[in-house]
Symmetry: C2
Subunit: 397 residues, 2 copies
């Protein structure tokens, strides 16, 4: 086990009806005038908007609104939010939605207390040194941004889908509180539920596939989460109102990415890096892109540590261990993962992503090169431009 | 799954050599003049005292010392610490040791900002409303107090071993930071290593045995932790310097009690309640008392939910499931747990605890009655005076 720091100071209020605590929590964490950020009509249809705004009013917290945040959130809305916070002297940012809304809120929070361009934190020009406090009311189980120190924004200028660097400084962006009411996820389209399940499984796998020895405890916690998602996601697809399944997915999604599963080990993150190019090029859902990339990445790398992939097959999918030929078990686990994604209605080949074509692969690799520290990436197996191209070619079936 | 709040804002700095960050962390959390609390010579022998005080000096943090804290920590030292904090205007409390030292630090922290007697928080006369910030440098993997909102103190006046009530208010006592260096636990006597393993297993079992339905994810996380402890504890006993085993135990001990395993479910805590009387009467180590009480409690309650105990047997100890007679599997799990405790050198019967005798059982039950809300207790099966006596009689083998 490697040395590590783990700091997840977010207060989680979980369960049916918790949105009524929003106003009190904003106050508890020092907010007096809030910026409420959300996407579109879904939070108005599922009752979340009404519950949250009623609670803010009851607590005497005035708020301004920034809406229209979309999947793969864009820099434009961040600049708009930063302007509002500054002009109106707002002292709390409340994200109501999923990862895109929360990441926008985090970027606004960082940007509002910084003299320069918020993008400096993404391009590596500046280190995060503070934020307007952010709280969240989660309505999609997927990105885990409600408990994480991650933030991914796409800059319209150059179509750059970049993250803030992983460092202890990034802990500044962890939300003060997150309200997780599984009921709000019951009205999600099946496609989004599936994308969410893939995303959280990816967050775990990016940590699980590691070369660090002696990480028995986090290995088992990763498997506990993966098994739970494999069990709960089909239930939520079959009966969208299955509260127990929705609750399992929602808590698993948070734990998948607050780094409970990743402490003390070198993590991988290659599939995420490759997927970011897919969604930058085709604006596909992050989860859908991951469903295409992840099994292809696994097929490319599994010979690097056959026994770890065999363990994945046995512990997560209940495959029988082939002690004579562990490679066979390892391959079976990857096959089962791809079948699982397909059973959720996810694409698993490049051509299933709208507009995607193999001819773009060199362009995606070239685009990746523009990123600061673009190559190599991947903590489990180092991925250079050639390897990235080969993994992407593996998705062209 | 029940609604819940989860708030574990402690910063954990884990690994070899992390004590050198102590001074910086005290500063980060606002400390300028500290009270350093510890037990006896062991922290001086294992290098922890030197590393911590060097770091405080380097960071320019003056400190006073309160030493001599013993197992089952006493109120006298708390009063002494409260007096020192007030008189010397100290603004940070640093615990260097295990659960007893940390609980003393927490009680001093609460008491120092309260006009009345700190015991009011334990007797239910007053609600916790603040604390001097507390940080910890852990040297024993056991109590989990480094990440928990628990605090147990024995009042010399009446030999009352009482806890602060479990409530959201208790989150105030969670440490600001905890430094977890597994190396400091390598020099523990084998008996203390074993007591620690039992204590953390108990913290998990008290949460695992629950009547709340639909808690699949936390069930699996509990099992992940229990399996890890069952695997790591014998390794640490066999080779005290096995860093990987010590690291597994140290992180498992924290997760066992920061409530990662207990969210969304009614918890039990009957074994702990009964054990508190054992250690109040005989001043036995908490872990040793639990090794005696827990299997006896299990034998008394397992028919209440045979399948849960069968699952425990299969998932934690790898027992084969007897589908025809699940009771048989359930019993086997309890037997395996007791054998495991014995293999660690723990007592599993009353008479193995120095001074303990069956004739005291009625006195222990009577003593329990003096406690606020003394009976019934237990979230899995309600335990009244008769049941407590019967469980204790079950330990007299």
């Amino acid at each position: 086990m490697d040395n590590f720091t783990f700091y997840s100071p977010t207060l989680f209020a979980f369960g049916d009806g918790q949105a009524k605590t929003t106003g009190g929590l904003v106050r508890r964490f020092g907010g007096t005038k809030a910026l409420l950020i959300y996407g579109g009509g879904s939070v108005k249809r599922n009752g979340a908007y009404d519950a949250v705004t009623a609670s803010l009013k009851e607590a005497g917290i005035p708020f301004s609104e920034l809406s229209g945040i979309q999947a793969n959130p864009r820099s434009g809305k961040v600049y708009e939010g930063v302007g509002m916070v500054r002009k109106e002297g707002l002292d709390f940012i409340l994200a109501l939605g999923g990862g895109s809304v929360i990441d926008t809120a985090k970027a606004v929070g960082m940007g509002a207390v910084y003299d320069g361009d918020f993008w400096d934190f993404f391009s590596g020009k500046a280190e995060i040194n503070g934020t307007v406090p952010v709280g969240t009311v989660l309505t999609i189980s997927a990105a885990g941004s409600e408990g994480s120190n991650s933030c991914v924004i796409t800059h319209e200028n150059g179509n750059l889908k970049w993250s803030i660097p992983k460092s202890e400084k990034a802990d500044i962006v962890r939300p003060k509180f997150s309200i997780l009411d599984p009921r709000y996820t019951c009205s999600l389209p099946a496609y989004q539920t599936a994308c969410g399940a893939v995303d959280m499984m990816a967050h775990i796998c990016e940590r699980y596939f590691s070369n660090t020895p002696d990480v028995a405890l986090t290995d088992r916690i990763c498997e506990a989460l993966l098994k739970t998602i494999v069990d709960a996601a089909p239930k939520a697809m079959e009966d969208p109102n299955d509260y127990a399944a929705r609750a399992d997915l929602m808590w698993a999604g948070m734990l998948a990415h607050n780094n409970s599963c990743g402490v003390g080990r070198v993590q991988d993150w290659a599939s995420h890096q490759i997927e970011h190019e897919l969604s930058a090029f085709y604006d596909c859902a992050h989860g859908a892109g991951l469903a295409v990339v992840m099994p292809a990445w696994m097929e490319f790398v599994f010979t690097h540590d056959v026994m770890r992939f065999a363990r994945f097959a046995v512990e997560v999918f209940g495959c029988e261990m082939n002690y004579a030929e562990p490679e066979d078990t390892a391959r079976q686990g990857i096959r089962r993962l791809r079948e699982f994604f397909r059973s959720l209605g996810m694409p698993t080949t490049l051509k299933e992503i709208e507009g995607a074509k193999a001819e773009d692969i060199p362009k995606m690799v070239a685009h990746r090169k523009e990123k600061p520290n673009g190559f190599p990436f991947g903590g489990f197996v180092k991925i250079g431009p050639e390897e990235m191209a080969e993994i992407l070619r593996g998705t062209d079936q």
